[in-house]
């Protein structure tokens, strides 16, 4: 059993052509469907689901009320003030956009690279991407203060002859994030269609049949359907791939194109993209571990999947650490006094606690993934993943707040203190994120049924007819 879990091929010579098994247990096509559809079809979700959604739903209501309060009162309810006109709003925006990077990376890049282990986790990771984009998109919309003028961000002809400034990275941001949201949603939904048809065909109540049937778009599973589906999926994957790299590059331009010391560095785009993938995978691990336990999907989302994600976390975490070192090196080597001060101030200034905590969480913590026991142990990996999430939030805090509160002129220095509204709005976005995720788990297949079947031993062209892994016995 343990051998399979870690992807070792079955030792028997007669089945030596088997690929390393990506699912565990005695799975055949029918059992995969039963297992995944069962989560949606069981009359009641587990008790833990109710507890979780009560908490996250409450936080979501807190978020909505605070957004209403903000709109009614103005952005003064936040701690943003001179000189830190960007505070938690931008920190949280970048944090959530970063989280949103894992889904598309898993779906698109790993798909193009033929990494078949993506199949069990891509659906949930893509859903997570969408929900993280919802949380991220909220901040730019509400931080403009007068939200009813947010349409000024878009090039809509108007009586004011006002047109967005296409030279501004803030505008690129609008397009980068909205394109990303659109493509991720399309990708996610298109992948769902065959599974929605499965749920439609298994539905027992007319309402469910209607709803799943409506969104299944008349999928019948004919060869022609599959042919077109796979073509379209490939095209969307190719479209989404550059987006994984472009979105956070553009987000980093918000900073890099300005002249603030600590922001104005060319390393930002790759450094942000690595950080985004890093935080995104950490979030996937954080929520997939409890989700697979809760919904009995341990055999589909195996420890091997989690271990692979942890390897990505280790790699991207090391990249992020390298970026931190490079920043310091360039600050010294570049010889610019302001730049040098900006970085010394990060490490030794008033917010040095945030900097060193960030270094611990982002650079030190993932290094434990060199040990297989940490990489494959559920508790240690969740602990590291949570630390990484904390660290990546702190990274954005360090970049945004420290740089703004200590720029060129000491007379304009200041200190940033968040208000309670800041804190609870941020907590509320977690509520929104988890509420959406819990609803997704309950009403949609959280594992791509059709795709997992393609990696079953039974789907191999040389699999014994009708065997469907039956002889794949375990001791």
């Amino acid at each position: 059993m343990a051998g399979d879990a870690h992807g070792n091929a079955p030792a028997t010579a007669s089945r030596s052509w088997f690929r390393p098994s990506l699912v565990e247990g005695d799975q055949d096509f029918a059992s995969v469907t039963r297992r995944v559809a069962g989560v949606v079809e069981r009359p009641k979700p587990p008790r833990a689901w109710y507890i979780a959604i009560t908490i996250s739903g409450t936080l979501t209501l807190v978020l909505f009320s605070l957004v209403a309060y903000l709109i009614a009162t103005g952005v003064g309810v936040w701690g943003n003030n001179a000189p830190a006109f960007w505070g938690w709003d931008i920190v949280n925006f970048v944090f959530w956009v970063g989280i949103a990077h894992a889904g598309t990376l898993i779906s698109a890049i790993l798909f193009l690279l033929r990494q078949h282990w993506r199949t069990s986790i891509n659906r949930a990771a893509e859903a997570m991407t969408l929900f993280a984009v919802c949380c991220a998109g909220l901040y730019p919309a509400i931080h403009v203060g007068r939200i009813w003028l947010a349409y000024w961000l878009f090039p809509v002809p108007n009586q004011m002859s006002m047109w967005p400034n296409f030279r501004s990275p803030l505008l690129w941001d609008v397009f980068a994030v909205s394109t990303y949201a659109t493509v991720s949603a399309l990708f996610w939904y298109m992948g769902l269609v065959p599974d929605l048809a499965t749920l439609r065909d298994r539905a027992v109540t007319p309402l469910k049949r209607f709803l799943y049937g409506f969104f299944a778009l008349g999928w019948r599973g004919s060869s022609r359907h599959w042919h077109r589906f796979e073509r379209a999926y490939l095209i969307l994957a190719a479209l989404a791939t550059p987006l994984v790299l472009s979105v956070h590059s553009v987000v980093s331009f918000d900073f890099a194109v300005s002249l603030v010391p600590g922001w104005h560095t060319t390393i930002f785009p790759p450094y942000f993209v690595a950080g985004a993938i890093f935080s995104g995978f950490a979030m996937v691990v954080t929520i997939m571990v409890p989700a697979r336990q809760l919904f009995g999907l341990k055999e589909l989302v195996t420890v091997r999947h989690l271990e692979n994600m942890n390897k990505v976390i280790l790699a991207t975490g090391s990249l992020v650490g390298l970026a931190y070192l490079t920043e310091f090196f360039i600050a010294w080597y570049g010889g610019n006094a302001y730049e040098r001060f900006a970085f010394l101030n990060r490490a030794l200034g008033p917010y040095s606690w945030a900097y060193w905590l960030m270094v611990f969480c982002n650079v030190v913590a993932p290094q434990f993934f060199w040990f297989k026991r940490v990489r494959t142990g559920l508790l240690p990996m969740v602990a590291v993943a949570i630390l990484v999430n904390v660290g990546m939030w702190l990274e954005r805090f360090v970049i945004v707040v420290i740089s703004l509160t200590r720029d060129y002129l000491p007379t304009s220095w200041g200190h940033f203190t968040p208000t309670l509204v800041d804190v609870f709005t941020f907590a509320g976005t977690f509520g929104l994120f988890f509420t959406l995720f819990l609803l997704f788990c309950r009403f949609l297949p959280m594992v791509a049924i059709a795709e997992v079947k393609t990696v079953l031993p039974a789907a191999h062209p040389h699999a014994p007819q009708g065997a469907a892994g039956k002889e794949h016995a375990h001791a």
């Binding site: 349409y151 809509v156 002809p157 108007n158 009586q159 004011m160 002859s161 006002m162 439609r200 065909d201 049949r209 209607f210 049937g213 409506f214 008349g218």
Partner: protein
């Protein structure tokens, strides 16, 4: 298993067309429907006194500045006090029904409550004197007031409309002596005259945000 009847298939192209047209509809709604060009032009409220600009400015050819005295010196083109009306109307038709409100106002000292026609938003700074002294004629913004029985808004007064002239004022510049003239028409292309005047007087209207939003 068919969940939906076959005729629903016909709705798919309709849906696609609807979505495409819906996008165009929303954009045009913003661009034209919500524009002052649509909403504000033609606004002509009934005033407490049926004062006719057609009679006073047109037939009698009173100069605009006889009543709107501050227009050359101040941001606002003052609405005249009742006393200005009474300069003449103390002797001309003081018994007329149409003038009852003016006469009453002169007696009590309570001003006539004229309804404002050209009303810019509070966040817009506009200075009449800056425009008049540089040769932007009254008629350029207010239209042929000398033909109006009741004053109506001719120009949209939208930001885009302001910017149009601030970006290229030459078609709207005239020699200062004709600023209040309703009938002046250039003997050469207006743009040519405007360009000369702009050069002479260094007229370079700014389009910075803070020019109007202070």
């Amino acid at each position: 298993m068919n969940v939906f009847p076959r005729w629903l298939n016909g709705l798919r192209p309709a849906l696609a067309v609807g979505v495409a047209l819906g996008g165009i509809y929303v954009v045009s709604l913003f661009a034209y429907g919500a524009s002052p060009r649509t909403l504000a032009v033609g606004y002509a409220p009934e005033q407490p006194v049926p004062f006719s600009h057609a009679l006073h400015a047109g037939e009698l050819a009173l100069d605009c500045r006889y009543c709107h005295t501050t227009v050359e010196k101040a941001a606002r083109a003052a609405v005249p006090p009742t006393e200005t009306c009474m300069n003449c109307h103390a002797r001309i038709r003081p018994q007329s029904d149409k003038l009852a409100a003016v006469v009453a106002s002169a007696g009590t000292g309570d001003p006539v409550h004229w309804k404002r026609v050209h009303d810019l938003p509070d966040y817009v700074y506009f200075d009449h004197s800056a425009h008049v002294s540089r040769g932007v004629g009254c008629v350029s913004c207010h239209g042929r007031v000398d033909n109006m029985e009741r004053v109506r808004q001719e120009a949209p007064l939208s930001m885009g409309w302001c910017l149009e002239c601030h970006r290229d004022p030459t078609p709207n510049l005239r020699p200062p002596e004709f600023v209040t003239s309703m009938e002046w028409s250039p003997d050469r292309p207006a743009r040519e005259i405007g360009a000369e005047l702009a050069r002479e007087k260094h007229i370079q209207p700014s389009t910075d945000c803070s020019t109007c939003h202070r």
